[in-house]
């Protein structure tokens, strides 16, 4: 079995509005299992765009993306949703928790959607994840009762609930102060070390990037290194 979790072949993306503009230029990229990769680059270099293509949410591109050796280009909306649910965990800049649900329920939702475990087992796992992130005391609070750093930790717990192949982050520390950024980084670091979790994080924080295993620098829609 190969070790490659995520691979792209000649990935090209255009924006059509207002002018046709090439944002990504034939990107070839490989992420191995257990790697902690960060993508850095200036604003507008296409790093977030790349991430959203990899996340399967944006399907308007040319080239191919392979997730766990499986071609995901051209799959239907439903199949992609299923893959996102099962294989990809997300952490966004603006935590994006569902305000209608409490913390525990937020963490459980992707698991319930997957439906492979019973509700009790999912709840058990969710509490376990919250505990490792030191958030179990807040399990029954509503998201609006939490600080930004706490919300981000809940979002990470949610990303972990289905034991995804890869966790993707779009500036997960962009909205946090130094202390909370460090906490989030430590969590990520611990995940790769202890659980061999693959991580792909877009960031513009050089401190954060420098501490990851591999840095992919992007400029003008191309990978520099």
């Amino acid at each position: 079995m190969s070790n490659i979790v995520l691979e792209t072949k000649k990935l090209t993306k255009y924006f059509n509005d207002p002018l046709r503009m090439q944002v990504l230029k034939e990107i070839d990229l490989q992420v191995d299992h257990g790697e902690f990769v960060s993508i850095v680059g200036k604003s507008g270099c296409g790093k977030s765009t790349l991430l959203y293509l990899l996340s399967t949410m944006d399907t308007d591109y040319e080239g191919q993306i392979y997730l766990d050796e499986e071609l995901i280009t051209g799959k239907t909306d439903k199949e992609l949703a299923q893959m996102r649910n099962e294989s990809i965990g997300f952490v966004f800049q603006f935590h994006y928790l569902l305000n209608e649900f409490n913390v525990l329920r937020n963490v459980m939702l992707p698991g319930l959607k997957l439906g492979k475990l019973s509700e009790e087992e999912i709840e058990q796992n969710a509490i376990e994840h919250l505990r490792t992130l030191d958030m179990h005391e807040h399990a029954l609070k509503m998201p609006n009762q939490l600080s930004g750093g706490q919300k981000q930790r809940v979002a990470i717990a949610r990303a972990l609930i289905n034991k995804p192949l890869i966790i993707m982050g779009d500036e997960p520390t962009g909205n946090l102060d130094k202390k909370n950024s460090d906490i989030v980084f430590d969590i990520f670091n611990q995940l790769t070390k202890e659980h061999n979790q693959t991580l792909l994080i877009v960031t513009h924080d050089p401190d954060f990037a420098n501490r990851t295993h591999r840095i992919i620098t992007m400029e003008d829609g191309k990978i520099l290194s």
Binding site: E100, L109, L112
Partner: protein, 418 residues
Amino acid sequence: MNFKLVFSIAVHLMRSRLKQTVIAGVGVTFGIAMFITLVSFMYGMNDLLDGLIINRTPHVRLYNEIKPSENQPVNLAEKHKHDVNFIHSIKPKDRGKSIYNAKSIIQSLKQDQRVFDVAPKITTPVFFNSGTIEISGVANGIDVLIEEKLFSLNDYMVEGKIEDLRQNNSIVIGKGLSDKMLLKTGDIIKITTPRGNLASMKIVGIIQIGIADIDDITSYTSLTMAQKLLGAPKNYITDIQVKIHDIDLAPALAKEYKNKYNVDTIDFQTTNSQFETGTTIRSIISYAVGIVLLIVAGFGIYNILNMMIFEKMDSIAILKATGFSGNDVKWIFMILSMVIGICGGVLGLVFGFIFSNIIDVIPFNTAALPTVKTFPVNYNPLFYIIGITFALITTFIAGLFPALKASKVDPVEIIRGK
């Protein structure tokens, strides 16, 4: 699709916007309640007004019409049979009003499976004498018990009972007649027949059908009394009134009886075509108003769901990002809409029933209808079925478009747009 999960998300979304959800539901409730009330009341009214005529009219009437002979002698003559004959100044032939062989026709009609019951009747013009004045009117000789069974005359009796007619020499007169002649129950009335026979009869009751033209001239007596009055034999009957089980068959049966018994017949539909029209138009109006109310409620739901989707863009994006497909999101909002529709609709049925009950006890006294004391209401379960079905259809359509919109939300746009 995990229905339980989708349902629970829908319920949570609803709870976070409880006020709007309730308002949307109230819109449906109001629409359905008004629809039920309106239709029940309209149909009650229809039944009442139709009853005025329908209950009083046989479905098929057999009688002898005064008309010229269809086969004039010249057409029968061997010599001129094949010529084209022009005859001027034909006069109608008096075949007598009596139906020939009435008793056996009645017997035969009663055997017919389609027939509910048959009532013989004698109609004759008479004069009611009050002092020196003569008032022209009509005397109906009826078989009291069958007539009551078919036309529920007791519902229209202001004083006395129709069964009292079984006493000898008794008569029931119309309310208009009794007012004009200052007669009341127990008084004696003098009657002259067209042939000059004079009779005194005791008034045992007063009837008010609600149509002044009829109440001013009509009177009822028993079949035998009418025969005596006219000096006619026991088999003298001028009308045979037939009520059938399925009123729609009336025209066909009328035609059949006409050929079978060689008498003139007329069916209910021909006599009362204008009432059919009135009924239909009233129903159309009530359905139209009810449906408009529901459509307005539908727009309310559409608006509120649209607003909700606008507010919940972030939530939709995150649901999609964590693995909910467009279809799941669509169902979340469809369920939301359907829950509003079902709750609002069922409550609407309950309120509709309550409002109908309230209308049912509001006093409604009219001179035309002595036995009706409150507004009429028709509690046909069909209205409730139509109401809830329409509520579900409206909310389904009202929810479908916002739900489709929500299912097409591009999570990337929302997440990047921040």
